[in-house]
Symmetry: C2
Subunit: 327 residues, 2 copies
């Protein structure tokens, strides 16, 4: 694998950022093509080989509701073989948690939508019921020694109710923290926010939710995913979700867009002086693999540039030269 000796000198070294790749869960769960377990396991290994430190590997939702995730137990077994990789799985409720624990899962994520209508449409529960179920799942997971992430979905805007009140997000975040969430992940599920909205919401949350326990889950629907991540970064957020190749979004909604692409996020982070531990050339190979599995080309906005750098580095490596002009 060629290395990219030079992206652009960052002005300073600013520490470490943890990137969680969610391509295997948020990315694949809505795809019309069902990728088989062998293909998913290969993608999991490729992401881990690229140095991705944290991967949302699967979801213990009902296989009837989301058949793409029916192989959750097998996927966790694959992930466990890749220790010390942090591999998490979504557990929607106590029943899902039971399956997750039986599979040996060490970290679970619980998702709570911030609006009444989204919970009704998504899981046929009121916001109150969904909060109760989310909290009891988190408590049970912690009681069994699992690490936990609490997602707050549609934290910026709900497709049914419009902008989400920041007070609501704060209250639900505090409830999930109290119930035992190690991390609170603020999710722009439909990709509605811009950087000013990230600033505004984080400005409301940060005095009461510790920034080192906050993550951002961003979608790139309006082309502002990387700018939004940067806005969070400037406010001290050091945990971000992303999806290799920008995978995600509903293929039945024309033009729907997926999560911010892991390669775009990592490039921005590394150029900003943050260490991610992720190799961009190896990540690009994982993106190519994901594209092969889905039978269509994938890649974030930086991918054409990245492919050129990789080809160039490989050619220079073959030529035995050390010099690398860096563009």
């Amino acid at each position: 694998m060629p290395t990219l000796p030079h992206l652009f000198p960052s002005p300073e070294t600013r520490g470490r950022v943890v990137v969680t790749d969610v391509a295997l869960r948020d990315g694949l769960q809505n795809q019309p093509q069902h990728v088989g377990t062998a293909g998913k396991a290969a993608l999991l290994r490729a992401l881990a080989a690229a140095g991705v430190p944290s991967i949302e590997a699967t979801s213990f939702v009902s296989p009837k509701a989301v058949p793409q995730m029916a192989d959750a137990t097998a996927m966790i077994a694959e992930a466990l073989a890749l220790a010390p990789l942090r591999a998490s799985a979504l557990a929607p409720n106590l029943k899902g948690l039971e399956r997750a624990v039986a599979a040996g899962t060490k970290e679970v994520a619980v998702v709570l939508s911030c609006t009444e209508t989204m919970n009704r449409k998504n899981i046929n529960m009121s916001l109150g019921e969904a909060t109760r179920v989310g909290c009891e799942t988190l408590r049970a997971a912690r009681a069994q020694g699992l690490a936990t992430r609490g997602y707050l979905a549609v934290a910026f805007e709900c497709p049914f109710e419009g902008p989400t009140p920041p007070e609501r997000v704060l209250a639900l975040g505090l409830a999930l923290l109290d119930a035992g969430a190690d991390e609170i992940v603020i999710a722009d599920t439909i990709g509605a926010a811009g950087p000013a909205q990230v600033q505004q919401l984080l400005g409301r949350l940060l005095p009461q939710l510790p920034v080192d326990r906050l993550g951002l889950h961003l979608h790139d629907t309006r082309g502002m995913g990387v700018a939004n991540a940067y806005a969070g970064l400037e406010l001290g957020v050091r945990r971000f979700d992303a999806s290799a190749g920008g995978l995600g979004g509903c293929p039945f909604a024309p033009g729907a867009s997926g999560n911010v692409a892991t390669e775009d996020l990592v490039l921005m982070l590394e150029q900003s002086g943050f260490a991610t531990g992720i190799s961009l050339p190896a990540l690009a190979s994982a993106v190519d693999l994901a594209g092969e599995l889905l039978g269509r080309p994938l890649g974030g906005h930086s991918m054409p540039w990245l492919r050129r750098q990789i080809a160039r580095a490989a050619a220079e490596s073959r030529a035995g030269r050390e010099e690398f002009p860096g563009r």
Copy 2:
């Protein structure tokens, strides 16, 4: 033309940002297809109709060197008919300025690359000679009452020399200001910067170059164009170049990417509380026209989302309903 009643409520009203669309110059000058004057004039009118307040309409370079710009005089005549539109033209030297003045141009842009090698490769001059020519062109333009913009190309990174020293950019910027540039435009010509680099360079420039006379010209090569604009915005920059549809980049360099797309920039600015005066639906029509002229689909990262909103607003308008869910 449908309106988009709701993007996302911005947290505050933060004033006005001036966007200069450069699709007709930076966008078209390297395209293999030569768009005829009638097509260019139609695009100019479409951009003006969308409310774009400032357009770089053409370049008075040698028609032998850049045949795409041979109709510069005709394009200026078209632009003058659209007053009070701010229409500028590139004037590479005194000879170009003479043609620009003869055509009735009211605002000229002068480009100076920040490195020795880039000037040699681009215009066969040393950095010293290029600086002298740029300054004398600016002085002559000001003496004739023209408004002036001074571009500093490869201000972040040069494809031949690597990262550009910020001290150099500052010195050249001060030289152009002294020579009579009304605005200094800091150009990331190859799209190498990330937001941390924008912060770093502006941090060096701003104490000595007044921020209200600074603009940013960003390319989206690495997918960080909007994030970079946001970084500039946070430091007080209120002038940005962009190109409708993200047009630009050399079509002979596979994967090369153009300027940050005007629609992506405007969406971010408006969602951040800034007024641009630009109608996104009308801008999308201009992008579609540019795509027809070039025979290939164009559009920034936000374009699929934007097209959905426009179709939806149009459908709701037809249905006579006022409600607009906003996603």
